[in-house]
């Protein structure tokens, strides 16, 4: 039996690796996810039949717990709107972390005189990393939902940050050296880990949430790996490390897309509401009327759409596709410029537009889009803000200075669809809205697009 179980565990690991590999290409991605799922099921079977010596097995408890988890997870995944996807992924991720923390707690409660120091150490690691990931993810969830929009930085934030870390290391070291665990120390460790997650994510602004989720994702992987070390389970160990390592790379890729270092994002304080130039000036925003907007679009040669979170919030992806088709029938070429961090998660816009059947080849990445914008008649910005903020190019005092943006001002005309006159999610003033070429169309993205589509139909 031991041999069979070892092989099952090995197959599971390969399924994970092949699955991740296949997720890299659009054609094979769906299959890759299923292979990875198969690996997970094989791994679970392995854990169910693995010989453990004289044990009580308690299969009833396990079956009930699995059923309950499935009954909660499945409907959540089916019901969620595509736009709320980032939040849900953050939430699932947090629960994985909480699971590792729970394991760490139980294992530490079982510590006896014979428990080797190494086992205590990995239990502590699983508890701490999982705990940070849990509360951090919950906070990221709240920030993405918009329930929590504040971000405060306590004085000497980095000092307290370090102090909590040191505190956790000290408690951990005491447990390992003494070779015993008492309840106050254990509770202290749990509280510190949970608090650290909150403390770590709180000062980070909404615009940086994609990076944070990716980072938390890799932390959850590491906590699973640490838990794997507790049970000497290679599937957990390697699976967790794969997630940790690939998550780290993905995080760095995202930071690269924003031209910031990871430390800059984490140590935060950079994104503060209302900072940056352009605030409080007497510049005015020019509005555009419905017929003017329709005619401008209709008589242009080509249009580039720059979607942002506003498109996601109002579920306007199908409406924009409708406008796209209509313009196509009028011989206007429509393309989409996708900024790597548009929306609340990398690739967020791609997923939404794919849902509305917009073909891939119409989506331009940052470099291609900026080349194309120089030869574009109208750029239509739908609920995007920071990714088109020219301050990033020319205003060193702006919090986003240095971030690569889509150079909307290279196009001949700019129409911005925007809900209101405010500064939006990140709270940074955007001089593009006051630009000579810019005309604003206020209102909910979906409603605005519908109005213009109706107008175009009448003109046709």
């Amino acid at each position: 039996m031991t041999g069979i179980v070892s092989i099952l565990y090995m197959v599971a690991v390969f399924c994970f690796a092949i699955g991740i590999r296949m997720l890299r290409q659009p054609k094979s991605a769906k299959q890759g996810n299923l292979i990875s799922l198969a690996g997970m099921l094989i791994g679970i079977v392995g854990a169910l039949i693995q010989p453990l010596g004289e044990v009580d097995n308690n299969y009833i408890w396990i079956a009930a717990a699995m059923l309950l988890g499935t009954m909660i997870g499945w409907p959540l995944a089916q019901k969620v709107k595509m736009t709320a996807m980032p939040q849900l992924v953050a939430m699932f991720n947090g629960l994985g972390g909480a699971s590792a923390t729970t394991l760490g707690i139980v294992e530490l409660m079982k510590v006896s005189a014979e428990t080797p120091g190494g086992s205590i150490a990995v239990s502590i690691l699983a508890l701490i990393i999982g705990g940070i990931s849990f509360t951090g993810s919950v906070l990221a969830y709240l920030k993405l939902e918009g329930t929590l929009r504040k971000q405060w930085v306590v004085p000497m934030h980095n000092f307290w940050n370090l102090l909590i870390l040191v505190g956790m290391v000290v408690i951990g070291a005491i447990m390992v050296v003494q070779g015993s665990v008492n309840i106050p120390l254990l509770l202290g460790l749990v509280v510190l880990a949970l608090f650290y997650g909150v403390f770590f994510v709180f000062p980070i602004g909404g615009a940086d949430m994609p990076v944070v989720i990716s980072l938390l994702n890799s932390l959850t992987g590491l906590s699973a790996a640490a838990a794997g070390a507790i049970y000497d389970n290679k599937t957990m160990l390697i699976g967790g490390i794969l997630v940790g390592a690939s998550g780290t790379i993905l995080t760095l890729l995202m930071c690269q897309a924003m031209n910031r270092s990871l430390w800059n994002v984490i140590l935060a304080g950079k994104f503060k509401a209302g900072s940056g130039a352009g605030g409080g000036t007497d510049q005015v925003m020019k509005e555009i009327t419905k017929p003017d907007a329709a005619i401008l679009l209709q008589y242009s040669k080509n249009v580039i759409v720059i979607p942002g979170y506003g498109l996601a919030v109002s579920q306007a992806q199908k409406t924009v596709k409708e406008l796209d088709d209509l313009l196509n029938s009028m011989d206007v070429e429509v393309k989409y410029a996708i900024h790597p961090v548009a929306g609340r998660m990398p690739g967020h816009m791609n997923v939404l537009l794919a849902e509305a059947d917009v073909p891939y080849e119409k989506l331009l990445d940052l470099d291609d889009a900026n080349a194309a914008l120089k030869d574009t008649d109208v750029v239509l910005i739908i609920g995007a803000n920071d990714v088109v903020n020219p301050s990033a190019n020319d205003d060193p005092s702006s919090p986003i200075y240095g971030m690569p943006i889509l150079n909307a001002t290279d196009a001949k005309h700019i129409i911005v669809m925007k809900r209101g006159r405010g500064t939006g999610y990140s709270g940074i003033e955007n001089p593009l809205f006051f630009h000579d070429k810019t005309q604003l169309y206020f209102g909910d993205a979906k409603a605005s697009l519908q109005e213009i589509t109706e107008e175009l139909k009448e003109n046709a």
Binding site: R24, D56, G69, G96, V106, Y231, L250
Partner: protein, 103 residues
């Protein structure tokens, strides 16, 4: 030093496995198109649900009268399963939307 030597020689396989797995994780992710960043994040997130295996082993090894261990162990299975089932299902839903390009 003695303890360190003993630890290393007892765990040398694990150390190899760990380093190779880190290397593999880095390699697997290089050069991913932005289109797939979100599904990839969500797909790897589902994999971190392997922590469920630990919950299963914990509950199986627990004394059938130790309700605290059974309760907490089952809780970790529930949480892990939500991560697994939800993670894979949501990734699958996302990927279903990437249809073949139109000719």
């Amino acid at each position: 030093m003695e303890a360190f030597n003993l630890f290393v020689s007892n765990h040398i396989i694990e150390i190899y496995v760990l380093l190779l797995a880190i290397f593999l994780g880095f390699e697997l992710i290089s050069r991913v198109p932005t289109v797939l960043h979100t599904p990839l994040m969500s797909g790897t997130n589902a994999i971190s649900g392997v922590v469920t295996l630990g919950g299963v082993i914990l509950v199986r090894s627990a004394d059938s009268a130790d309700y605290l261990a059974l309760g907490l162990g089952s809780l970790s299975i529930v949480l892990g399963m939500i991560n697994v089932v939800g993670g894979y299902a949501v990734t699958d839903r996302m990927l279903k939307m990437f249809k073949k390009e139109k000719k």
